[in-house]
Amino acid sequence: MKESRLVLVQYATAVAAVALVSVHLIMQGVIYPYTTAISFDNILSVYRNGFYAIFLEALLVVVLVHGFNGVRIILNEFRQTKPWAMWVDAATVFAIIVTVAYGTRTVILAVFGGAPA
């Protein structure tokens, strides 16, 4: 992918992350009192709300893509060889896939399994 497209992804995920994290913090700190928000039952009920589960999945993807792409940019500034850039790019894609998959697993398990709400 061209660097300009990756930068566009970085900008888009940055804007989306600000919006999603803001909503998330408002939900967790303002709408519900913080101690209630982090209780096991509340978290499970939040996951089982279809809309909020999709919201959390989107938050997960946006933050991880933005974070790992940022790390890729930093690592590419450290060294300027082609093999290094290739490894960094491959590692970034791998890291995004693995962490998104693991986070998605958590969301899916919370929605369809786990302890009763």
Partner: protein
């Protein structure tokens, strides 16, 4: 005594292991520039000081160096504006040292050349034998005018934190000049430059620190040029629309002298 303490970083890569700072007491006079002080030291105190200079009027860009910790032109910096007591002269950062204050500018000019800093036309015959005058509107000139003031002194590149870490990054001078030619309505090329810039180590590595604009002795704002350039790299197109170059060409035939 009316003297200035001139401290010069000395380093000969063929003889020295690391740089050393040597101090010279130089008589001070009104209007004295750092270049004057250095030339006095070289002519009367130590003939071995190596420095590069030419025009003495901030036009050639030869005497760029770090003066009291900031990249400046030695000929354009008065001793009085530095407090008048102590002047520390060091070679520019981000450049290899040839000797003392003389730095190797080869990669700097090479990066400039790589981004094709010249006008091109779809019809190559126009480059050698233009059949009419190419006209720019005042507002078109306004967009690029400040960037044409660049004297290629290297001070912006010397102050750039990205150049310090990424040896493949073209640097603020090359990027600002790339913008200068891409934004020029007389240029029908530019797409190749945009392609070169859309790279892992290209225009996107500028983090907009702005130090390049801060140190430029000619009032150029390379950081602005780079941000404007990013817009064109994102679209992959030079700013003019298709056929507009020809339009400029057509209007050039309609000059008052030719009516």
């Amino acid at each position: 005594m009316n003297e200035v303490r001139l401290i010069v970083q000395r380093f000969d890569p063929f003889e020295d292991v690391e740089p050393r700072m040597l101090e010279y007491a130089v008589p001070k006079w009104e209007g004295m520039t750092v270049l004057d002080a250095l030339l006095y030291a070289r002519d009367y105190l130590d003939h071995s000081i190596a420095l590069r200079f030419s025009c003495r009027q901030a036009s050639c860009g030869s005497c760029g160096m770090k003066i009291n910790g900031r990249p400046r032109l030695a000929c354009y910096t008065q001793v009085a504006e530095l407090g008048g007591k102590k002047v520390v002269a060091q070679p520019m950062d981000n450049f290899a040292i040839i000797k003392d204050l003389v730095t190797d500018m080869e990669s700097f000019f090479e990066k400039h050349r790589e981004l094709l800093p010249y006008l091109s036309r779809a019809d190559p015959r126009e480059l050698d034998k233009p059949s009419a005058e190419y006209i720019m509107k005042p507002e078109e000139l306004e967009k690029i005018l400040q960037f044409t003031y660049c004297i290629k002194c290297g001070l912006c590149t010397s102050s750039c934190p990205t150049v310090a870490t990424d040896s493949k990054f073209p640097g603020p001078q090359a990027l600002a000049q790339a913008y200068r030619y891409i934004a020029d309505p007389r240029n029908e090329g530019g797409e190749e430059t945009l392609r070169l810039l859309d790279d892992t180590h290209g225009v996107w590595r500028c983090h907009f620190a702005g130090s390049c604009s801060f140190v430029c002795p000619k009032g150029v704002d390379p950081a602005l040029g780079i941000q404007l350039l990013k817009r064109h790299v994102m679209s992959g197109r030079a700013p003019r629309k298709k056929g507009e170059g020809a339009k400029v060409w057509a209007t050039s035939l309609d000059t008052p002298s030719q009516k």
